[in-house]
């Protein structure tokens, strides 16, 4: 399931039980992020990354799909938060970790 043209949505796929989710992952093979989470009521959910069309195709008996965000748009916005050039090029520029040295 790869697509370079259509936006990829982050969706939450919730199945009524673990076996239903396992079957869905086996049959539809969606791109997933993180691991499955089981709720107290026995339902089991996972985040998936899919085009709108692919997300619709994940819906079935015992499964609900809700959109969280447009992951492509978020990722594109985040690309603006990537450094330009080389901040460590100056001879005295050394990386510092985020811990307080004390």
């Amino acid at each position: 399931m790869s697509s370079t043209s259509q936006p990829v949505l982050r969706v939450r796929v919730t199945a009524q039980d673990a076996e239903t989710l396992r079957a869905l992952l086996r049959d539809a093979r969606p791109d997933v992020g993180g691991r499955p989470r089981r709720a107290d009521d026995g339902s089991c959910s996972i985040e998936a990354y899919a085009t709108a069309e692919q997300a619709t195709a994940l819906e079935r008996e015992g499964v609900s799909v809700t959109t969280i965000e447009n992951a492509t748009a978020t990722g594109r916005a985040r690309q603006a938060e990537v450094g330009k050039g080389d901040r460590f090029a100056p001879a005295d520029a050394v990386p510092h970790g985020l811990a307080v040295k004390a």
């Binding site: 370079t4 992952l25 086996r26 492509t72 990722g75 985040r78 520029a93 050394v94 040295k101 004390a102």
Partner: protein
């Protein structure tokens, strides 16, 4: 601050090696990436290479999991700076004394390789943010949708998944180049994967291996192909009697893990999570890699499996960090990423401290 681009990750490693010549050393990885980029790792330790047991840490394997590189660069920088200054390290509510920092560099060897997949990271940071694999076009037949191999399916562990697993197991791996988890044409087909193997071979005293990924706030231990058990040593990945039977939860087959290794892995994973939680309360979960569905060809299972497949190789306990929560997804805003860096770096330092007791 912002995320590091690929030039900066490499430049950070080089700068640290230059700034701390007594306690670090630049490692040239033997193979350039598919697109020809050279990779560098950093050996950290106050004693000559090979003096002490070694932990190898890698990151930047999956292109879209950007923050893994920053976690490892900052981890290395923290340790080197604190050692030289004779200070401890404070990560929010988790802190380490100067003696603990000194002990890590005096009695342990660390090899940190923050960017295994530079081509993929560049593509993710400049073109498609959701890109995961490397950028190898060899199996694509010229189709851009078939470019790339999932490096964390390309290691030699149950690579022949159609033979290894029960047909109902649905391992998260594929032999179709258009798939997100394409394993490649054969184990170690990719130069990026071979560089990691080279590190484990070049540092034969490696006893711990940590692969930094995102997301879900977990610290995973072996195995990923099935549930673990410590009672029946015959049920193992080398035994062909169990071909076509692996990967289904709750059935007769479970992957053998000697109890002492299971216990040691669990303690270290728990210690990592304790270090993380102290910072600001994030509760990471220590658990084995097998959750609902199996995997194969992953780095942590490969690292641990080496000593079983070849008795001349040392035993390496393998781990995979899955940093970050669902809110941030693969690309948290940088201010949130800084909090994740603090969390995970505290966990990694705690992990190192715990290997020494």
């Amino acid at each position: 601050m912002t995320y590091l681009n690929i030039t900066e990750v490499d430049s950070a490693v080089t700068s640290l090696a230059t700034a701390y010549p007594a306690t670090s050393e630049l490692i040239d990885l033997p193979e350039p990436s598919v697109e020809g980029r050279a990779g560098h790792a950093l050996r950290i330790g106050a004693t000559p290479a090979g003096t002490h047991d070694c932990a190898v840490l890698i990151g930047g394997v999956h292109a879209r999991e950007w923050g893994s590189c920053e976690i490892l660069v900052h981890f290395a920088a923290d340790l080197l700076e604190a050692y030289e200054a004779g200070t401890g390290l404070v990560y929010g509510g988790t802190s380490f004394t100067g003696d603990q920092v000194r002990k890590i560099l005096d009695e342990l060897e660390l090899v940190v390789f923050p960017l295994v997949n530079p081509d993929g990271r560049l593509y993710s940071q400049t073109v498609d943010p959701m890109w995961r694999k490397n950028r190898d076009p060899a199996q694509s037949g010229g189709d851009p949708d078939r470019i790339g191999v999932d490096i964390n399916r390309n290691y030699d562990f149950l690579f022949d998944f159609r033979t290894a697993f029960d047909p109902a197991a649905a391992p998260r791996v594929s032999d179709d180049p258009s798939d997100l988890v394409y394993q490649g044409p054969r184990p170690f087909s990719e130069p990026e994967t071979r560089n990691v193997r080279w590190l484990l071979d070049a540092y034969p005293r490696t006893r711990w291996f940590i692969d930094v990924h995102s997301y879900s706030e977990d610290m995973l231990t072996v195995w990923g192909d099935d549930e673990n058990q410590s009672l029946d040593s015959a049920q193992n990945f080398l035994n062909h009697v169990f071909d076509h039977r692996r990967g289904v939860p709750g059935d007769a087959y479970a992957e053998y893990l000697p109890k002492s290794d299971a216990d040691d892995s669990k303690v270290l994973a728990e210690q990592f999570c304790t270090g993380v939680q102290g910072v600001r309360g994030r509760a990471y979960t220590p658990m084995s890699g097998f959750q609902l569905y199996p995997t194969c060809g992953t780095s942590d299972d490969y690292a641990y499996s080496r000593h079983r497949a070849d008795e001349h190789k040392g035993k390496i306990l393998g781990f995979t960090v899955e940093w970050g929560d669902q809110r941030g997804g693969f690309h948290p805003p940088w201010p949130q990423m800084e909090r994740d860096v603090l969390d995970v770096d505290a966990g990694l330092v705690q992990f190192c401290v715990s290997t020494l007791v």
